[in-house]
Structure formats: C-alpha cells, structure tokens
Symmetry: C2
Subunit: 392 residues, 2 copies
C-alpha cells in the first residue's frame, strides 16, 4: 500500500510503457502511440527521442500513405541489435535462440534430448549453442540477458528446478549450473507453460483476453494461468500444476507419487496405451495415433476418445475455478484437441457451470513451439522493459 | 497499457491510499503513516487535513506515551459517521448491518431464512431491516452505499444472481429488486465467499499472505481466491466455484446437474448422511455431528473422517493449482476442520506436490460469521477508497 510515484518514476514508467508497446505490437506510428498511451504528442516525441538515444528504438518515415499532410513517424524496436538468449529444456528437445527486442528469433539451434538425460548433459549442449550463437552476433549489438524455460517446477528466486518428473529431475540447480558455465549472472529461469502462456497472451491466440488458461501437454501436463491480465504464479512460483490435479481417485499411479493425476489420463502415455502402442514415445508417436484416428483406425479413435473425455473433464474443473475467456491447447494436447474438439467441448459443457463457460473460446496456440523460446526471452527483456535506461 | 498518471491523479491516489490505510489498520499515528506510505511529513499533513475537512478522518493527540518530545497526532477513520449498509443472504440466515468506515459493525439485524425461501420473500425482510437501521442513524452521519453478499454466482455488472443452487435461485435479479425496493442506486452485489476472503485477507487470518484460498461451506462450497494480492474473479466474476470441481467421477448427482462435485462429498448433506442423520439440516445439525465425534460417537467419527478425506483431497488439488500460503476454512468447514485437521493435512500432503505445499498454513477465519457483513460493506466502501473526494 505505497503512495504515488515521483516525477522521475513517471518518466521511467512512461519510457517502459512506450518501449513495451512497440516490443509487443511492432512498428507503431507516433500518432497511434499518442492515442494508445494517452500521452500528448510532445511527450511521445521526447520519450521516443530518449529511447532512440539509448539505442532501443529507431524512427523512420512510413511508406507512402497516399494521404495528404506530413505522415507520422513510425517507431520500431531495434530488433536486430538489442537481443537476449533464450534456452528451452523440454522432454524431447533442447533449444537455444538469439531473440531480438520485439520477440523476433534471429538465430537458433536445437537438438534431441534423449529421455533420461541428466542436468549436466543438458547444460553442456546449451552452453555450446550459446557459444555458437555468440560468434554470429554483430559487433554493435547489445546483450540484455538470458532466459531459460524448463518443463518443470522452478524456484523463482534462483532457478532451482524443484521437480520435473517428465524430464526426470528433482532439486537440480539448473539456474546456477548455467550461470556458472556461461559466466553470466543475467540469467532467469521460468516454467515452460508459464512463459508460453505469457507470449500467447501478449502476441498470440489470447490477445485481448484477460483470463486465460494455457495448457501444455507432452508426457506431463502443465498450465500457465492468467487471471485479470496477470500470471497466477503462487507463493513460490509453483502455481499452475494442473497436471497433478487428481481427477480419478481410482486411477493410475503418477510419477509424482500420487494417483489419478490429470496427466495420467491425458498425457502421452495414456494416449499410447489406449492405442495399444506402449512401446512408442514422443511427439511423433502421438501424431501417429492422431493420424490413425483421422484415417479411421478404430483403436486409435478409441484412444483419442478416452483422452478427449478426460481433457474435457479437467478443463471443466478449471473453468469452474477460473471462469476464463480462453483455453489454449499446446504441445501434444493441440494435436489431440484437433481431432477430439467436439468431445472435449461436450464433456466440458457437462461439468462446467453455464455462467463460468458462457463466453469461453477453445483455441490452439498461434506461436506453436516458438512460444517457449520467445517466452524465455521475455524473462530477460522484462528487466529492460521495467527500466529502459538500465543499460545506458 | 496506459502511461503514467497526472499530478491530480497522484493526489487522489495518495488520499485514497491514506484513507485505505486507516480504514484497514484503524487509528495510526502520522509518524507511522509517513513511514508506511513512503511520503514525507508535510505531504501526510496536507492529505490528513484534506480528509479531515471531507469528514472522513479525525485527528487527536495520542494518550500519554511516557516519552519525551511532542507526540505524533493519531489519525482515525470516522467510523461513527461515515457508514454503509451491508446485507447478506445465506443458506439459513438473512442479515443486515450498518457498518462504519474502518469496518466496524454499528448496528445489526438478522433472521432465519427457511430453505426454499424465494427472492421476493428474502428481499422484503432485508428492506425492512434497512428501514429499521435508517431510523437509528445519527443526523450528521453520511451514507456511502450498500453492499450485498449472496451465497451464489453473481454477475458483477448488475447483481443478477445467475445460479445459487444452495439457496435454490437461478437467474434472479437480486440487485435490481433491492435497488427498486430501497430506492437506492448505490448498491453492489458480490459473492459471499469472495467478500469474506477479501476481509480475512485485509483484517483477519490471512493478513500478510498474498496467495490465499478462503473456503466457505454449508450445503454448498465456494471459494474466494486471492492470487498475488488480488482476487481471482474470472471473466464475468464467477471464478472460485470450487464446489463444482468434480473430484469423484463415480460420485453422486449434484444440484448443478453434474456428478461427483466436491460439494457432494464435503457439504452438509454428505456429512449428515454419513452420520446417519439424513432428516436433519443446517449448521446446528453439522455441529451436532462434530460434537458427537468429539465425544467418541463412532458413526459421527466415521462421517467426519469421510468428509475430512475429501476436504484434504480437494484442497490438495487447489494447492497444486495455486501454490497458496494459506487456506482458510469458513462456514461449517471450520467446524469439520477443527476435528479432522490431522486427516485433512495428511490427505492434502499425499496429493499436493511438496514445492506447492511447503509453506502452507491451514487456518480458521478470525472474523467468523461477521466476515460476510464486513465484506459486503467493503463493496460499498470501495468506491470511496478509490476516490475519497467522491462525496464532497
């Protein structure tokens, strides 16, 4: 319950607001900025000048508009020179990218992650990727920081991975290991579903929706939840573990030690088991079942129906709890959703109260697998957007 | 994404911040306000003078402190003259109160609500209560507005009760009916568990915790959820319907039309049924079972165990989803919690992930049944706290 800000606070806040606007929306005319930010023209001009001096945006005349009068200058984020590194550790892949201000992926590397791969073995190729990416950086470019997305429960304070059952890690100091190896303290670690949710909210399928559940499924299931425009992170940053909502008290044992967790009914293993393909794993195997179901294979259709029922069931519960406007199905849940949408909707309707679901939209991600990388980069850009003069 | 505020915005913001501080914390010295609000002494003096002129606070010398030097003046909310009406429609009671700024109940009325009572029959005694309360209001007192808490799903915009299965109402325009009968447009309707949660967070068992789940049980179960210090209300204001989270896919039919909802396992009916007392209803009946369990009655103990298991189960799910610091058990869940705490905790520990539950505290409400009335009044005070010069 702090009192109001000082003049200097307001100036920095306005600088951050303007920079965030062009970071999220891309090139924007001064006229539109004046309109959107509720500031007068001279203030917008002064802020833009300051951000230009700091090397964060550039201004140029727009292309020929065909209208009379002097056209409004267009302000762009300096995507090619201001950048962050984004790393992502997923069940089957590890990826790295250099991401420019504005969320543009400038360069990328990735490789398979064999299941069971330990932390040090994952850190090594990531560090190598960053070294490779560094060699390609133009001389005048400016580094903001590194963000890491991990498919697990991450302690906000230091990037300790507390539990990541699907990648098999418990209490692993991923943040510290990467900081040491990269010799870089500007490194923040977050949860894969959380950062993906933020990006779909800012730039993707949930633009304009302030209450959003982004579900990400592979072996496990996690959620990034946005309530009233802000991420539901919980006390230690561990909120959103919807995969461990118990939906079937008489269900199978889960990797977390409990029984009947949602992910035991809708994760990769359940789908492959129902489809009679217990020897297969991974996204390709899931796509195989989905394709077979579309081609009319009855056991694959059975598997998709079973999983679809339980997806609708759990989403119905979450809708009663959150009353969201949008639910986004990411990861392999996207593929299952595309063939089981009617069934998911029907089960959801049976469980969710009419008032809680009346305005709901079910969606697939717009940014696909890039969401995690762009979202990881956001962890690094966030410091700059909070205070654009940080680097100056 | 609006830009920073103007000087006038800041002044009003500071007035609201100061008024909110003494509204929540009661009498506070100027020295402490200076410290808490991060403003200098002269600004605090000017703001206090303005609020005093507006009749919202008063200042006085503190009682003898025994210390040397001039003591700091103490600022108090004008509880006896600035007031709101608070109405509460619950399963078994309807209540009304006059509540002074600072959350002090100045006068109150209540009566039983027979189950099955329809909206018009509930509105009538409430209106009569308000008329009685009005007759006792001192001449110089100032009315701020009326807040209503209803044990059901309330549309934020107009106070339409969309669904209140436990009181038997569907699509009832409670807000409009009360506004008409009272001839008063300053009337806001909210959900009972939501307003109780806000009050326990501001003044009760969850002070200092920013991630809180307040559960309220009687026939049904609702929650007021606070994430990162703010209420999770959802798109239409219907969030928190945790009583309709399905926990038992093979369970009993619920009043909402679904099956196996949490409230079918932990609500009043489940407890009384397990205890072999299907002919009884209401809080007294629940207390009867709890007392019998404490005295060693084996069937009552069985009932409490059964319900305790399912309470722990559902709380475990919510802890995985929200990673809260505190869970508060209100209504009859409080009474069951007091005899089944160990069991609830044990089941919760089995279901909730260690990182999600590691700092959790289980609590009973501090404000008891008054929370709903004080919380309803907050709905009315909120407008004043947003802009203290509203009435001037």
């Amino acid at each position: 319950m702090r009192a109001g800000p000082s003049q200097e606070d307001i100036r920095r806040h306005n600088l951050g607001t303007l920079l965030r606007y062009v970071h999220v929306h891309g090139a924007t005319s001064r006229a539109e900025l004046t309109n959107r930010l509720g500031l007068n023209r001279s203030t917008i001009g002064a802020l833009t000048a300051e951000l230009t001096t700091a090397g964060l945006v550039s201004e140029a005349a727009p292309r020929e508009t065909g209208r009379a009068g002097r056209p409004s200058l267009v302000v762009r984020p300096e995507s090619s020179t201001v950048y962050a590194y984004a790393l992502s550790i997923e069940v089957d892949r590890i990826r790295a990218a250099r991401v420019g201000l504005g969320g543009r992926i400038l360069d990328r590397r990735e490789t398979d992650r064999p299941r069971g791969m330990q932390v040090l073995d994952a850190v090594e190729p990531l560090v190598e990727f960053v070294r490779e990416l560094r060699r390609e950086v133009p001389e005048d470019a400016r580094y903001v920081g590194t963000g890491v997305a991990v498919a697990g429960m991450v302690r906000r304070a230091d990037g300790m991975v507390r539990l990541a059952p699907t990648i098999g890690w418990t209490e692993e100091p991923v943040g510290a290991a990467l900081r040491d190896e990269l010799g870089d303290g500007l490194l923040t670690v977050g949860n894969h579903a959380d950062v993906s949710a933020l990006v779909e909210h800012a730039r993707g399928a949930a633009v304009g929706s302030d209450n959003v559940i982004y579900l990400y499924g592979d072996v496990g299931v996690g959620a990034g939840i946005i309530a009233d425009g802000r991420r539901v992170s919980g006390h230690g940053g561990y909120g959103g573990e919807v995969g461990h909502m118990v939906v079937n008290p008489y269900g199978r044992e889960c990797s977390c030690g409990s029984r009947g967790c949602w992910e035991t009914e809708i994760g990769e293993y359940a789908l492959l088991k129902h489809a009679g393909r217990v020897d297969e794993t991974g996204r390709e195997a899931v796509l195989g079942v989905v394709d077979a179901a579309m081609r009319g294979d009855s056991q694959a259709q059975f598997a998709v129906r079973q999983v679809g029922e339980w997806i609708g069931f759990g989403v119905g519960n979450l809708v009663n709890i959150f009353n969201p406007e949008a639910v986004i199905f990411g990861g392999t849940l996207r593929d299952v959703y595309l063939v089981a949408a009617a069934q998911i909707r029907s089960r959801l309707n049976a469980i969710a109260l009419p008032a809680c679901r009346e305005h709901i939209r079910l969606r697939t991600p717009e940014l696909g697998y890039d969401a995690a990388l762009i979202g990881a980069a956001e962890l690094a850009f966030e410091h700059l957007l909070e205070d654009p003069l940080l680097l100056s």
